[in-house]
Each structure stands twice: as C-alpha cells, then as structure tokens.
C-alpha cells in the first residue's frame, strides 16, 4: 500500500519552516481582500483586480507550500494534472463571464 511504503522516506515533504511560511502567507493573502472590502479602501475595477490577484497568489502558495508541486517523479502526473486543471479553471472563469455577459445588457 502506498501510504505504508512511504514510511521510510519521510523527507522531502517540506519542513516545519516551509509549512509555517505557507500558513502565514495564506492568512495574509486572505486578510488583505477582506480589509480592502470592509474598509472600502478600493472600489470598482481596482477592487476586483486586487481580489483576483490575491486569489491567484493564494493558489501558488497552496501549490508550492502545501501540495509540494516541485516534488514528484516520472511520469509527471502532477504536470499533466496541473495543465488540465488550468484548462478547466480557465473554462470556469472565462466561460462563466462569457455565458453571463448577456446579463449586463439585460439589466
């Protein structure tokens, strides 16, 4: 069983330090948009762009600090999975904007 075989080589799964850094970064990246909205620091397009930027950064923090995207062996399943994930993510975001775009004309 995989989980048993991996007993021996516990290394390479990130150190305490990298976990703490990742944790702090993701909290900071979550609080920033909250503050931006609650205190009405930004508004309109600027706000949307800022929130999106934080979300994208958050994504990378998760991938590098928690999901160990740099590790791995051949065949590179995680690269394939990421590419497919990116395609589907793009579909969800761009597709929704496209499908819902008529809304701005209706309202």
């Amino acid at each position: 069983m995989m989980q048993h075989d991996s007993h021996g080589h516990g290394e390479g799964h990130g150190s305490l330090k990298s976990y703490v850094i990742g944790f702090v970064l993701s909290i900071v990246l979550t609080i920033i948009p909250l503050v931006l909205v609650m205190n009405k620091v930004l508004s309109g397009t600027a706000l949307v762009v800022a929130i999106m930027a934080m979300a994208v950064l958050q994504l990378f923090v998760q991938l590098f600090f928690f999901m160990h995207i740099r590790e791995g062996e051949k065949p590179r399943y995680n690269v394939q999975a990421l590419i497919l994930g990116a395609v589907i993510l793009l579909t969800i975001v761009a597709g929704s904007i496209w499908v819902m775009s008529f809304n701005s004309m209706v309202q």
Partner: protein
C-alpha cells in the same frame, strides 16, 4: 414548559400527513428490530470489528452496495407516489407541496445517494482485483469516504421525518432555494447532506485515480489495463475537477441562507442565474461521471460473453478520455432558454452534439465485438444488450434537445423527463445492474438465480418503455415537468395512465430482484472455481469471494486480458509458470476513526441545519480531534504471515 416542548416538537418533526406517520412508525419499528436482533445474537462486537471499522475495499464495496439498493428502493417509492398522483387528472393524493418535496427528494437521492454509491460499490469491489492490487492506495481514506457518504445520506433522508424536506428541485435553483422563499430547514438538510457526502466523493475520486496509476500489477501497462479500470480512471478525473465546483456553489448558497449574503438573490447585487451557471458546471460532468463506469462494465461483459477480445480497445480508451474532458464544455445546454446570445447557445449546442461522436464509437465497438462472437445470453449480457437500443434512443433525443432553437419547445417538458430517464435508467441503472450480476459471484461466492432474474429483467425493460415512451408525446402535448396535477380538458389522461402502469411494472421488477437475491442466498449456484463466467481479467483468477489479501502472489501481467491468455496457455500446455514464492503480506489495520469522524460531521451538519451553535462546536471539534488522533497513530499496518496465507489458500482449494 409543556407548551414549549409541544411547539418545538411540531416544528422539529414533520406532522399532519398520514403517510409520514406511517413512515415514522416503520422507521421506529425497523430500528427496534435491528437493535433487538443485534443484541439477541450478540452481534454488536461483530458489527463493529468486521464492518464499521473495516478498511477492506471489498467490504466497503458491499456496504456501498447495500446502501445504494436501499436508496434505490426509497427513490423508487417516491417515483411511484408521483406516478400515482399523475395517473389521472385531479387526483387528490399528494398536495402540491408534498409533490414538490417528493420530486426533489427523488432526484437528489437517485443521482447522489443511489447512482454515486452504486458506482463506488463497483469501484471498490472490482478495481483492486482487476489491476492485481491488494487494496486501494489509501484504505483509511476509503473507509472515511464511505462513512462521509453514509452520514451525509442519513442527514438528507432524515429531513423526511424531521424538519421537512427540500422542495426546490434536485438542483435547488435560487431564488426559490433562498431563505426568503424556502424558509424551512429542508433546504439546509439538502445542502449539508450533499456537502458531507461530497467530501467523500472527492476523496474517492482521488483514491482510485492514485490506485490505478500507482498500484497496477507489474507488467500491466496502462494500455493493457482492462476497460472497466479505464472507465473508472476517466470517471475519477472528472470527479476531481467537477466536485469542487459543486461544493463551492452550495457553500455560496448556504452563505446566502445562513449569513444573509446576496450572492444569488434577486436584489442586493446578487444574480440567481450565476448559480444555474455554476451548478451545471458540476451537473453536466456528473452525468458522465456516472455513465462512464457503466460503459466500462458493458465493455467487460460484452467481451466475456462474446468470447472475444473487445473490438477497438484503443478507440474505447480514447473515447472515454475525450468524453471525460469534453463533458466540461457543454454545461450551458441545460439553460439555452436563459437568454444568453446566439453565440453562446450555438457553441454549446455544437459541443454537446460533439460528445455523441465518441459515444457512437463505443456503441459500434460493442456491436463489432458481438459480431460473429459466441454470445451467451446470461443475465449480465441481457442487460447489456437491452442497454444498447435504450441508450441509442436516449442519445438521439438528447441530440434533439441540443438543437438550441428547438429546445425552446422541449425545455422542462415531459420530453426532457423522458430523455434523461432514458439515459439514466437505460445507461446508468442497466449498466450497474449488469455489473452487479456480473461481479456478484466474486463478491459473495454464488450466482444470482437466472429464472427470477429474467422476470426482473423483462419487467424492468417492458415497464421502462411503457412508462417513458408516452412521456415524449406528453411533452409535445405541452405537459411540463414538476406539475402536480392537471385537468381533464387537456387530453393527457390516457398517456399518463399508461405511464403509471409502466412505472409499476418497473417497481414489480425490483421486487423480483429482491426476491431473487433472497432466494439465491440459499439456492443460488455456488461458484467454487472463482471463474464462473470464463472471464478474461485478473479478478477471475482468484477464489470467490476473494481472501482479505486478494492475491497470495501478485501476478506478473504479460498481455491485455491476461487471465484469458494464461488459461489459453495452460490449455495448450505452453504455460511456463514458475512455482509461486509466498511472502508475508503487508496489510492496513482496521480503524474506528472514519466512522467516528463522519459521525461528528453529522452532528456539525445537524447543528448547521438548525442553527444550534453547540452542536456545530461539538461536531467540528470532534472532527478536528479525530484528525489529530489519526495524525499521531503510527501503528496502522500489520503483516499476514506466510503460514496463514498458505492455510487460507488451502482452505479455498488452492495449492501454493
């Protein structure tokens, strides 16, 4: 005080309907009977040790199977209640709200708590055996997935007697599902039931993806892997990318309801159509998630019972992978009428029709496999053959629905109802039933009786067409879905009556199947060989039921359909099999944590539903503590010594 209790009880329990009181009595009696039997025969310890704490994929599969059959029963009773109500005009059997609750429950149960677990049952029972593995990649997680499903389903089902059921359809469109229009707790039961079991589904998707990629027997390259395992792989890919969308969408709906946000409301900047858009981004892939494994099952069965290798193996694999990716690009066909422009509608019309191409390839491959094969009409093959015309008609009406301008006529009519039942029953249910008949001897060591099975088969099949063909016509005659009654003047009465008769024929078919199982437990033909159908793939090379460790020696795979090749070689005397060398077998230990942790999820979910903070706190704390305890457990595995393996194999009639 007394008054308080009375008013609490009247909102907590569902009151006022004799059907519900009957159900209350039945539930209490069944529970008492179970407790009594378990206590009388001192089976509590057995239940805990052998089932509730098991991490064995075969037992988990059996538990999934039992639950899904119970859910098929419940969803089926709901269906029959609805068909009774619609049998004739102006029937006063169910009032409108009750009818709404029933179609909502029926749809949700059939898809999420019947089809999904039946599919997971087959994943669990078959995949490790078929790829020559001793368990799944993460056995503990597998048990956790099952119990999350179980408690999620319990939570959802409970709403029927406690608090009241959801009434806004199986996809809970806002604004109807918002607090303003659905103030009751039913909608929250729906949300939490699905959320909790959804975590389990996602975990199962990951688990089986990893199992298939990493744990195949040596020599089994991906292109030598049996097609059922390929179908599971493609279904898992779709699960992994689709289920998070469902979770997020329902979470946003819950935020609206619980915290008074305005994400999907009509006012305050919200947009209910965004919900429709998001939920179908999960919803469409979901139908492929459930149908792909059915395709895999048919491929196995067609090859076995035609005594031929599957025709066009590679094209089958590519078709499935293409379907699992393409399924993410068709969601808007569920709301052509929403008013998006011609560009959006034409894109989604074409992408939808494009999916018919790989599906068509698969149908031809099955037909070519049967062509000039020595076909044996055993039960699994019967269901497979019945599937083909049914699915082809369902697919054709699907392409009709995909013609966006025409969909303005069909949308939400009985034409649609007939279409999706045809693909869901003809494709998914027939497929899983075929799979259950096929692998039943592997699970339990005996075959299901053919004679009773044939009764079930013909009743289901004739009943199906009698029930759903009239509904296509009713759709054209203007009958819309989710309609609880209609007048004599519309001329819908005769076809509706016919449809109800068909529904009851299917119900009778199910009764025959239950009888068949009960009868076969005693009288079914025993499978002593482990290979009752003269199969082709590895699961048939080991005894039925398989021992805990599955394979005493992990097989060395050389070809596609390896077990068939081995049997050929043995018959020709060309097999040179080295004497097997036994080694101690490494296995995972049972654990009670999946059960306990899921139970705490149930408590938390119940708290969220009723807004009881203490329940939420206790529930979530319990979940956290369970995780913590598990993180510090190091003693999670053990070895089965060689002696014991040898003894077990000998007792199963195998010399090693």
């Amino acid at each position: 005080m007394w008054e308080d209790i009375k008013s609490f009880a009247s909102t907590f329990f569902v009151t006022g309907d004799p059907l519900i009181y009957g159900a209350d009595v039945a539930i209490v009696l069944t529970t008492l009977a179970i407790v009594f039997v378990l206590t009388k025969y001192k089976k509590w310890g057995w239940l805990w040790r052998e089932w509730l704490t098991t991490v064995d994929h075969k037992k988990i599969g059996i538990m999934y199977l039992i639950c899904s059959l119970l859910m098929l029963f419940r969803g089926g009773v709901d269906a029959l209640l609805m068909r009774l109500q619609l049998a004739l005009p102006n029937v006063e059997f169910l009032h409108s709200e009750h009818y709404n609750a029933i179609f909502t429950t029926h749809g949700t149960i059939m898809i999420l708590f019947m089809a999904m677990p039946m599919m997971f049952a087959l994943f669990n029972i078959v995949v490790p055996l078929q790829i020559g593995a001793r368990d799944v990649a993460y056995p503990f997680l597998n048990a956790l997935s099952f119990w999350l499903f179980f408690f999620g389903a319990m939570l959802f089902n409970l709403s029927f007697v406690i608090g009241g059921s959801a009434e806004s359809g199986w996809l809970a469109y806002p604004p109807l599902s918002e607090k303003m229009f659905s103030p009751g707790v039913g909608q929250d039961f729906y949300i939490w039931g699905i959320q909790i079991s959804g975590i389990g589904s996602l975990a199962t998707g990951i688990n089986f993806l990893v199992t298939i990629l990493k744990m195949r027997a040596p020599g089994m390259s991906l292109m030598k892997m049996p097609l059922f395992s390929w179908s599971v792989l493609s279904s898992c890919i779709t699960i992994i990318y689709a289920f998070p969308i469902l979770t997020v969408t329902l979470a946003l709906l819950f935020i609206d309801r619980y915290l008074g946000a305005h994400i999907f409301t009509m006012d305050g900047g919200g947009n209910p159509m965004m919900y429709v858009n998001l939920i179908w981004m999960w919803g469409h892939p979901e139908v492929y998630i459930v149908v792909l494994p059915a395709f895999g099952i048919f491929s196995e069965i067609v090859a076995t019972f035609s005594k031929k290798q599957i025709f066009g193996y590679k094209s089958m694999v590519f078709a499935m992978i293409i379907i699992s990716v393409l399924s993410f690009f068709t969601w808007a066909h569920h709301f052509f009428t929403m008013g998006a422009g011609a560009d959006v509608n034409s894109f989604f019309a074409i992408s939808t029709m494009a999916i018919a191409i790989p599906t068509g390839v698969k149908v031809f491959n099955w037909l070519f496999t049967m062509f000039r094969g020595r076909i044996q009409l055993k039960q699994p093959m019967l269901w497979t053959i019945a599937f083909i015309p049914c699915f082809v008609i369902g697919g054709a009406t699907g392409v009709m629905l995909a013609v966006a301008p025409a969909d303005y006529q069909y949308h939400n009519s009985y034409f649609l109802i007939a279409h999706f039942h045809q693909v869901l029953i003809g494709g998914v249910v027939f497929g899983y039933l075929a799979g259950i008949y096929y692998w039943w001897p592997k699970m339990f060591g005996f075959k299901l009786d053919e004679r009773l099975g044939k009764w079930g088969f013909w009743l289901w099949n004739i009943g199906f067409y009698v029930c759903f063909m009239p509904q296509y016509a009713l759709g054209f005659m203007g009958m819309t879905r989710r309609l609880y009654t209609y007048g004599w003047d519309l001329g819908w009465a005769p076809l509706n009556l016919v449809s109800t008769v068909g529904a009851f024929m299917m119900g009778l078919g199910f009764v025959f199947q239950v009888w068949q199982i009960a009868y076969s437990i005693k009288h079914g033909e025993r499978d002593t060989t482990g290979d009752p159908w003269n199969g082709r793939t590895l699961e048939w090379s080991i005894p039925s039921p398989a021992p805990v460790y599955n394979f005493a020696v992990i097989p060395q795979v050389k070809e596609a359909d390896d077990w068939w090749a081995t049997k050929q070689a043995r018959a020709n005397g060309t097999a040179n099999e080295a004497p097997a060398k036994l080694e101690p077998i490494h296995m995972p230990k049972n654990s009670g944590i999946p059960f306990i942790m899921s139970f705490f999820w149930f408590i938390a979910g119940f708290g969220f539903v009723w807004g009881w903070t203490w329940w939420i706190v206790i529930g979530l704390a319990g979940v956290g503590i369970s995780m913590l305890v598990r993180s510090f457990q190091y003693d999670t595995d053990y070895y089965i010594p060689v002696d014991e393996v040898r003894r077990t194999e000998a007792s199963l009639g195998r010399a090693v």
